[in-house]
Amino acid sequence: MVEKWAYSESIESSDIVNLEKKYGHFINGSFVSPKSKKYFDTVSPSTEELLSKVSFGGKQDVDNAVSSAKEGFKVWKKIKPVERSKYLFKIARLIQERSREFAVLESMDGGKPIREARDVDLPQVAANFFYFAGWADKLDLSWSNSKFKPYGVAGQIIPWNFPLLMLAWKVAPALATGNSVVLKPAETTSLTALMFAEICSEAALPEGVFNLVTGNGETGSYLVNHKDVDKIAFTGSTGVGKQIQASLAGTGKGLTLELGGKAANIVYEDASIDQAVEGVVNGIFFNQGHVCCAGSRLLVQESIHDKFIEKLERRMQQLRVGNPLDKNTDIGAINSKQQLEKITELVESGVNDGGSIFQTECELPANGFWFKPTLFTNVQPAHRVTREEIFGPVLTTITFRTPDEAVEIANNTEYGLSAGIWSEKGSKVLWTADRLDAGVIWSNTFNKFDPSSPFGGYKESGFGREGGRHGLLSYLKEDR
């Protein structure tokens, strides 16, 4: 057993964040109390302490937000594209200025390590607004001779794993293309979205262009089924995605879905092993494994299996699990009790199915929701742990002998969001990339994101792309 290096705590102060006791919805340019008259708690998953109370969006609240967005659209579509561009550039700047505050709040409310919120989420959030700002006045250059128009009111429903980043992925392209927005953040992570609403006010974004209704799945379904919503963009589970697709049938509304994944991370025997170990660890343990594109299925070539697993376990043992606000922390808190129960149940099924389990030795805090970094070996492709999306820090391992076999195993899933390939042989990397049914392929790297790089799934991982030139099409209709 390898000892951890001793580190002194280095806690990021949460003083910078000033939370209200409770928050309203953001509709027509101001915060309003919920018509539902209901609020719910939002807690820190690392301490279980109450952070604030957030409004529950009932039917009347969603109605109000959508009619505000309808009015907002009338204003927004008439604004000169270059002016839209300026607003978005300004929002990007304001986010950069308050980046530290956002990062701390994101870590507190969602449980992710401050290091990731600070170094990944927030820089990417600002970059997304910056990138799409520049598209607003160039839409007719984007796809050859095609002429476009916006859908109108975009209803956007986002998950809890990258709360502010998913907001940026949705809101930036929607506004750049001239749509107005009603956003529904995830139930457990509304706070940074509420702070973003403040930014919109600071940027003097016209009233009604960006609206925010907080709540749960019920709130989301009011938004999905609202007759005046012209386009739905959803990121979340495949199960809910299918329900949304069914309820939009025949309505003519636009729909893009970014759903679950069960990505294969293929390590060939000619890979740079140490680099691959790092990449595999980053692939699954980044953000506690709460990543739809996480490399949750390790496919390792049989000839290097034992050596690779030994190195991997050694590396896993170095991971620091604990206080998300400690700058040393690699793995923060599981986002909610409910998610912790789901992970626990799936891991138990893996053990019961006969898988060999390795969990790192570490002390977990007394309060909050935690799960030790976990590795399964000796599992079969039919086991639930290798088929179902766990959305936690749990990696399964399967071996393969030939590249053909690796591709076959990798594609043997209903999902098709992402995949990883590790090999020092260029031709083999490209051969493999051509054959994997996945929308994003990381070769000799993993979990890299950029606003200019389209992201989205094949098969049951959804349709439509976010990011890049391709991401514009998610919010534009052909002008006939």
């Binding site: 697709q245 994003v440 792309r465």
Partner: protein
Amino acid sequence: MSEVRKTYKMYVGNSFVRSESGRTYSIELSSEIIELPQASRKDVRDAVSQAKKGYESWSSLSPYNRAQILYRLSEMIEGRKASYIELLKESGIKNNEAKKDIDEAIEILIWYAGITDKWEQLSGNLNPVAGSYFNISHQEPLGVIFIFPRDTVSLKSLLLSLLPPLSVGCSSISLSKTAGALAVMLAEDLNNSDLPLGVWNILTGSYSNIIEDISKHVEIKGIGVNMDFDNKDFTIIQSNASESVKRTFRMNERLNLLSLHPFLETKTVWHPKGK
């Protein structure tokens, strides 16, 4: 001496077949009434298994090769132009309109034959990511596609719906009722155009009894309907499609990049740069 009459058959897996059900429906032409096969659920399933094979071979051909095969189809149609015009006239279309329809159909075919090796340059690109990475987005064909073309007797209209998926490497199955005889005539030229087995399949008849099977079939990866397709029936298709997150869309029936887009998946590949 009496004339030999043509038996109209569907085109599945590069063979001309009757419906497995034995059922037919009739179309009244000005000089005769003809019988066409009414496609059954089993015919749909057979077509899908052929189209799966077709997808494997068609998508692995070089775009240059696909271009030549589609161009060959235009040569075949050109050679039988008179027969097409005759069939359109038999369906009640005036001579000059019939001639115009076939001429324009050939132009559309030429457009799509020429785009097979160009669309990827127009719809894919290198992405300027902030970091030392090679990052490229390119497109791949969706797979087996089911098409509901506009049901009017027009070769132009038929090809506007059928060519987009084929030009990007998908295989397709289509269903025509009123235009059934025309679709079968097209199939005869497909059969002379060196298309690999199962790439382009043509069914005839009404969809009312098979719409559920088509929209629920998990091996059909996308369903395209024409702009005026009945919305009640499209609702059934879209609702069933959600069970496997199947792609469904109204086709724009235009000659542009967006006509191809519904039949494509975008794949983004990252690789670090370094010494």
